[in-house]
């Protein structure tokens, strides 16, 4: 357990260091800088120079990187060039949107994929299998943001049941906030659920041919009980692995879906920071994304232990 944890931790730090240096370098290579974006087309060269000086953009790249890194170690994520406020506050505000959104999407995709995949396996070649197959084909083929647009057209423009975008804030009450996140969560969950359904189906199919399944059936258990009590739990390890991997796609998908639904989340912040060349915000958000993905994978590793008693012995 300790070795697993420390190995993970070292991996986390190395990954974050490499990612952050890479982002800094790439952002610096991108054409256009913060000062010229802020001052527009009429600014004189000396005005630009003063702003660059004010923002510290006239310092060498490595120096700026070092300063930022030192700040991060002291718990100071720096100032946003664009908004002029500490990035930590910005990120916290945005997390209140993106985290619930991601959780809703994960829960939705699990709630759809595991029953559908298990049923498809149990009724191989039957109707549930056909439904699951069509669903997963579509989900994999159609991008999340496109689903988002279709959802808006149907539920907001045509039917008027759902807000077309925006986020009222948690202050506006739990339900309105949840309602604003529902469609984005569906759009995010749809492709995830499609992949997960396939994985669940094949994992459950495999366990259906295992000896313990035959034993359970021979013991006189009903088919349904065997499926839900024995086959599905034993199929969860590969499903969890994929779920952990999918978290990465979820984060990437959030950038697109948040933009489509005009949600003030982390993905949108990242997109704005990129177009405004707000390097510090970009760095911090990417750092957080990378950190989240790594932590998520760690949680998945730990949950293997929870669902598979055999793995616990080795530790």
């Amino acid at each position: 357990m300790i070795t697993l944890l420390s190995r993970r931790l070292v991996g986390l730090i190395v990954t974050l260091a490499v990612v952050s240096l890479l982002i800094f370098a790439v952002m610096d290579l991108l054409p256009g800088d913060q000062a010229s974006i802020m001052l527009g087309t009429s600014a004189a060269p000396e005005t630009l120079a003063s702003l660059r000086h004010e923002l510290g953009l006239d310092q060498p790249l490595l120096w700026r990187y070092g300063e930022w890194l030192a700040g991060v170690f002291r718990g100071n994520l720096g100032q946003s060039y664009t908004y002029g406020v500490p990035v930590a506050g910005l990120i916290l505000e945005r997390l209140a949107v993106t985290l619930p959104l991601a959780l809703m999407a994960i829960m939705l995709s699990v709630a759809i994929a595991i029953p559908l995949g298990a049923l498809a396996a149990a009724h191989r070649g039957g109707l549930p299998d056909a439904v699951a197959s069509i669903f997963s084909q579509m989900g994999i083929a159609v991008a999340g943001f496109w689903v988002a647009l279709l959802l808006i057209m149907l539920f907001s423009t045509a039917l008027g049941w759902m807000p077309a975008g925006g986020f009222p804030g948690w202050n506006a009450g739990f339900l309105p906030a949840l309602k604003a996140l529902l469609m984005p969560a569906v759009a995010l969950a749809f492709p995830q659920a499609a992949v997960l359904t396939r994985v669940t189906r094949s994992a459950v199919l495999e366990t259906l041919h295992e000896d313990f399944t035959r034993t359970a059936l021979a013991k006189g258990l009903s088919k349904r009980r065997v499926l839900w009590r024995h086959s599905v739990p034993n199929a969860l390890v590969p499903v969890l692995t994929i779920l952990g991997l999918q978290f990465t796609f979820l984060v990437a998908g959030a950038v697109l879906v948040e933009n489509v639904f005009n949600l003030p989340g982390l993905g949108r912040l990242a997109y704005q920071a990129l177009s405004q060349r707000d390097i510090i915000v970009m760095q911090d958000v990417i750092l957080l994304f990378a950190g989240l993905v790594i932590v998520m994978n760690f949680i998945v590793d730990l949950s293997y232990l929870a669902i598979d008693p055999r793995l616990r012995k080795g530790i």
Binding site: G32, S36, I37, L90, T157, G160, A164, P264, S275
Partner: protein, 528 residues
């Protein structure tokens, strides 16, 4: 509904009647119930009908496409900053009204010396910033010095270049001494970049703006909205705001904008983003659309220092190959006004020059042959991602093909990459962009500027126009300047963007035209 209700009541009454057979009051109880329910329903209906009238609305939610980056218009260029704060939170010595004219504001009057070198402003008395700090000549001097100082980051620092010194003989008098007559100075002082900021609060204006305006800043939920509230202590008693609370919401996607308007999530979008969706509001019982004018000139600038664009005949040929009406129809659903130079019909001294180089592909071809390109040539246009640019470029591409010119379209990220490639490096052949700044015809006299256009006669006119402050003389000079541009075509002049306003029919006082990018809310109110 009523018949259904009656049935329920009747059944209930029937049951009760059975039980209360012996009580003679049963029928009257039924009647009383009926009456009671009927009254309740009609009271409900009456209330429903009257609520909006009784509680006259004093809040406004206004949608904008772009979120401002910071809220201090004196330190950054994006027009969205002024569209939230100008005239609402911040005010200037003078202001620009709905027709584009200069009006007194924090300066109640002024005098210009005959040589045009001394401006003496009389300031309003009793004006306070939202934090209680007094606005007087010292504060005004501070604001102007901050804008023109050595480490100023004012995006329009050039406005103040001719000011040599500022005197404050008394708290209500401000004297500006200039090095040369500057005919546009008063107009420029009305701009968002020239607003008055408080000596104590200026440093924090980027996140918590403190001005003298009719609205105070309340909150900015980044990525979502900015909230303002009425300034109860506003200095001008007859111009206090009528709204108590204003929320600016930022919605980038036009479809989402339309949905927010229709669902009532926002009351107004003064600059709706998609002309092709304007007709979707036709016949809407609640919303009205207003098509006004702006100062946004869509022009396809050329690198006048680069072959073949250094040859005036080539530029003229390209201009004559383009039918502006087709561009407007294709790119902006026919909403927009064709222009013949870098000037809009609202500007003083406008001359319609759309006929100077009229659409004539045959003549264009002949001109190209004369310039040495009988078989045309190939070039690349750097087109930013804003909807109008690629759409216009595609229409132009088809029309240029008619005269044998091949135009490749290269999408170029705006602002970052565009500013770098076009503005800074001038590594481009043609580009297309909407110039937002009002009365900016002088950009063709600036060096460096991305057109690389050099014409001493034009530069002379731009110098002369500053030497006079007589509007008639200025209008005449601007007329001559327009003619030079229409003949030289350093850029292909296409059209002025319309202001596509969509708002609640009961909302009054929003500007229909936009002589300067803004959302002035002082006179906005809800009709009973």
């Amino acid at each position: 509904m009523t018949s259904w209700l009656r049935k329920v009541i009747a059944t209930a009454a029937g049951r009760q009647g059975n039980k209360l057979m012996k009580v003679s009051r049963a029928p009257s109880a039924l009647l009383a119930r009926r009456f009671y329910l009927g009254a309740a329903v009609s009271v409900g209906l009456v209330l429903l009908g009257q609520t909006p009238a009784e509680a006259a609305k004093t809040t406004l939610t206004l949608g904008m496409t772009v979120e401002p980056t910071g809220l201090d218009p004196t330190i950054a260029a994006p027009v969205a900053i002024g569209q939230v704060t100008w005239q609402n939170v911040f005010e200037g010595l003078v202001t620009i009204d709905e027709t584009g004219k200069i009006q007194p504001q924090l300066a109640k009057s002024w005098e210009v010396s005959p040589d045009g070198l001394t401006y003496t402003f009389k300031l309003q008395s009793g004006v306070k910033f939202h934090d209680g700090e007094a606005f007087d000549s010292a504060a005004a001097k501070f604001a102007l010095d901050r804008a023109r100082g050595a480490d100023s980051v004012n995006p329009q620092k050039r406005f103040f270049a001719s000011i040599t010194s500022i005197e404050t003989p008394d708290p209500e008098t401000l004297v500006l001494h200039l090095s040369a007559p500057t005919g546009s100075l008063l107009y420029w002082l009305g701009w968002p970049a020239s607003v008055m900021v408080g000596p104590k609060s200026a440093a924090g204006d980027k996140t918590t703006p403190v001005g003298t305006g009719p609205f105070k800043f309340v909150n900015w939920a980044k990525g979502d909205k900015v909230e303002l509230a009425r300034n109860a202590d506003y200095w001008s008693k007859d111009a206090t705001a009528k709204l108590d609370k204003v929320t600016f919401r930022f919605i980038a996607d036009p479809q989402a904008q339309a949905a927010a308007l229709k669902s009532g999530d926002v009351d107004a979008i003064p600059e709706f983003a998609a002309p092709e969706l304007m007709s979707s509001f036709d016949g809407d019982a609640k919303l009205t659309t207003k098509i006004g004018n702006t100062e946004l000139k869509v022009v396809a600038g050329m690198n006048n220092a680069k072959k073949p664009f250094d040859d005036k005949r080539v530029r003229q040929a390209l201009m004559m190959a383009i039918d502006r009406k087709t561009v407007i129809d294709g790119a902006w659903s026919g909403l927009g006004t064709a222009i013949g130079s870098h000037y809009t019909p609202n500007d003083p001294g406008y001359v319609d020059l759309t006929g100077a180089l009229p659409y004539d592909p045959e003549k264009a071809k002949a001109l190209l042959a004369e310039a040495g390109y009988p078989d045309g040539f190939t070039f690349t246009i750097k087109s930013p991602q804003m909807a109008y640019a690629p759409r216009s470029a595609q229409v132009m591409q088809a029309m240029l093909a008619e005269i044998g010119v091949t135009m490749n379209i290269e999408p170029t990220e705006f602002p970052a990459k565009w500013v770098q490639d076009v503005m800074k490096d001038r590594a481009y052949e043609m580009t297309i962009v909407a110039h937002a700044e009002p009365l900016d015809i002088d950009i063709y006299a600036r060096d460096p500027y991305y057109f690389n256009y050099k014409n001493p006669a034009f530069n002379d006119l731009m110098k002369k126009v500053q030497e006079t402050s007589d509007p008639v003389a200025q209008a005449k000079i601007f007329g001559d300047a327009q003619k030079i541009l229409a003949e030289d075509v350093p850029a292909l002049y296409l059209f002025v963007m319309p202001k596509l306003g969509v708002w609640d029919k009961k909302l009054k006082g929003l500007w229909e035209n936009e002589p300067i990018p803004s959302n002035v809310l002082t006179n906005v109110s809800w009709e009973d």
